[in-house]
């Protein structure tokens, strides 16, 4: 990526940087550039504040919507004069339906409680977990008592369902926070030969109750400042990935995986080195069989 200003604008480099969406090598090159570039600093500061402001406004709209639903404002609106009713509902509908599609609403609610969202994402990865239903779109303005009552009931129903989901997630969170005893620790060896040759992969037995399994990966020598780990499922799809991992003094990476991320089949943990400013370098693959 060229660090000329036309390209920076065209590729939304400043915006993607403040949102943490630039690949690490591009982010590093951009940092080297903006360190001495006042023009790019102006871009960055504006992009950062615009990003923050938009998120804040979006979050406030979500809160407004929840308050409206809870306080039964719609019922009050039903009693208000028709012109006022139409104006208020129209502005609410515009804010919600135009500015904030339902996907955004869910996301913003999630951002208000990061911990909860982590658990929610965790649950969503489980094959048995039901997908979170999106909030239904706001109904068009119908200025009569019945429509307003129905709308209020629908919103209350959504709220109750959301509360129920939150309670379930809180229970999961509580369970995850309890001290864990006798965590299974599975040492894995790297495989460099062609697939199919050599020893069969290490067996990992899933615990009866959902819980954590620690995989201990021995690297030959820690040659890179940090590493990236990628968990590939039996279908070779990426199940999990994390960068910036640093081995301990014995050149070992210990990775805790929740059993809900695993299922019977052959998995591979791929480890790549992350040289400063360079592309990831393959280091080793650690196959294991889950049963």
């Amino acid at each position: 990526m060229d660090m000329d200003h036309a390209n920076i604008d065209e590729q939304q480099v400043a915006e993607r940087y403040v949102m943490g969406r630039l690949p690490p090598d591009e982010a590093e090159r951009f940092e080297e550039h903006y360190l001495h570039c006042g023009e790019c600093m102006d871009r960055l500061e504006a992009a950062e504040r615009l990003h923050r402001g938009l998120q804040r406004v979006a979050a406030e709209e979500v809160v407004t919507r929840a308050v409206v639903a809870r306080a039964g404002l719609l019922a009050w609106l039903a009693r208000a004069g028709r012109s006022r009713q139409a104006a208020l509902l129209a502005s609410l509908a515009l804010a919600v339906a135009v500015l904030l599609p339902s996907g955004l609403l869910l996301r913003e609610v999630g951002q208000r409680d990061r911990e909860l969202e982590t658990i929610r994402a965790e649950l969503a990865r489980r094959p048995t977990a039901a997908p979170t239903p999106p909030l239904a779109p706001v109904a068009p303005v119908v200025p009569d008592d019945r429509a307003a009552r129905l709308e209020a009931e629908r919103l209350e129903g959504e709220l109750a369902a959301e509360r129920q989901r939150s309670a379930g997630l809180a229970e999961d969170l509580d369970r995850a926070r309890r001290p864990q005893v006798n965590l299974p620790v599975v040492p894995l060896s790297p495989v460099r030969s062609a697939p199919g040759g050599g020893e069969p992969p290490r067996q990992v037995t899933l615990p009866r109750e959902p819980g954590w399994i620690v995989l201990s990966l021995e690297l030959d020598a820690a040659e890179h400042p940090s590493y990236r780990a990628t968990l590939l499922g039996p279908d070779r799809a990426v199940r999990w990935q994390s960068s910036g991992l640093e081995p301990d003094a014995a050149d070992t990476l210990a990775i805790g995986l929740h059993s809900s991320q695993l299922a019977a089949g052959d998995f591979v943990l791929r480890i790549e080195g992350l040289p400063p400013g360079g592309k990831p370098v393959p280091v080793a693959e650690f196959p294991f069989r889950v049963r």
């Binding site: 604008d9 065209e10 939304q12 915006e15 403040v18 949102m19 943490g20 969406r21 590093e28 940092e31 080297e32 903006y34 360190l35 001495h36 570039c37 006042g38 600093m41 102006d42 871009r43 960055l44 500061e45 504006a46 992009a47 504040r49 615009l50 990003h51 923050r52 402001g53 938009l54 998120q55 804040r56 406004v57 979006a58 406030e60 135009v98 500015l99 904030l100 599609p101 996907g103 955004l104 996301r107 913003e108 940090s226 994390s242 960068s243 910036g244 991992l245 640093e246 210990a254 990775i255 805790g256 400063p276």
Partner: protein, 206 residues
Amino acid sequence: MAGRPEEEVAAELVRRILAGDTAAEGEMVERYSRGLLFMLRKRAGDPALADDLHQETFRIVLLRLRGEGLGQPERLSAFILQTAKNLFLGDWRKRTRRGEGAGVEEAPDPADPAPGQLDRVVRDEEAGMVRRLIGELDTDRDRQILLRFYVAEEEKERICADLGLSSLHFNRVLFRARERFKKLLGEMTGRDAAVSSLRGGRAAPG
């Protein structure tokens, strides 16, 4: 130094600092300070920690430049960045060992601490400007572009495909929004400066 290539400016600064020119030290700090602080605040999340690391970075860089100089003086900005990142990582490791930081699996993520009172005022003003900006956009589609990109953090390609937009149109909307927002920020800064100056004038009459 405006208009000259960075490599040339950097090499000259390194040479002058090595020769004991203290004015060059000030010029170096002035040139790189803003960007370095931005990078550190983004990484650390904690402004006080970022300020400390910022000072410490320049202290280490200056000691090195006064003593032995740089092997690649034209890459001064890369050296400053790497020094700052090493300091940040060192600090993060120390905190992690003491049980104050994140777990071993994840690299340090930028934190978002609860804002102070001044920050809250600034963020209120930002939100007000964003509302004004949204109100000024030409179409609902342009509003959706902003929200889907900045809030939902969707990829540009997906937004363009969904809304039937060209890449050029998308770029134009984002560019204009950011430029307009910069102008609104400028107006706010100018207004605040005028209020401060008025208050200062009243406070010290005659």
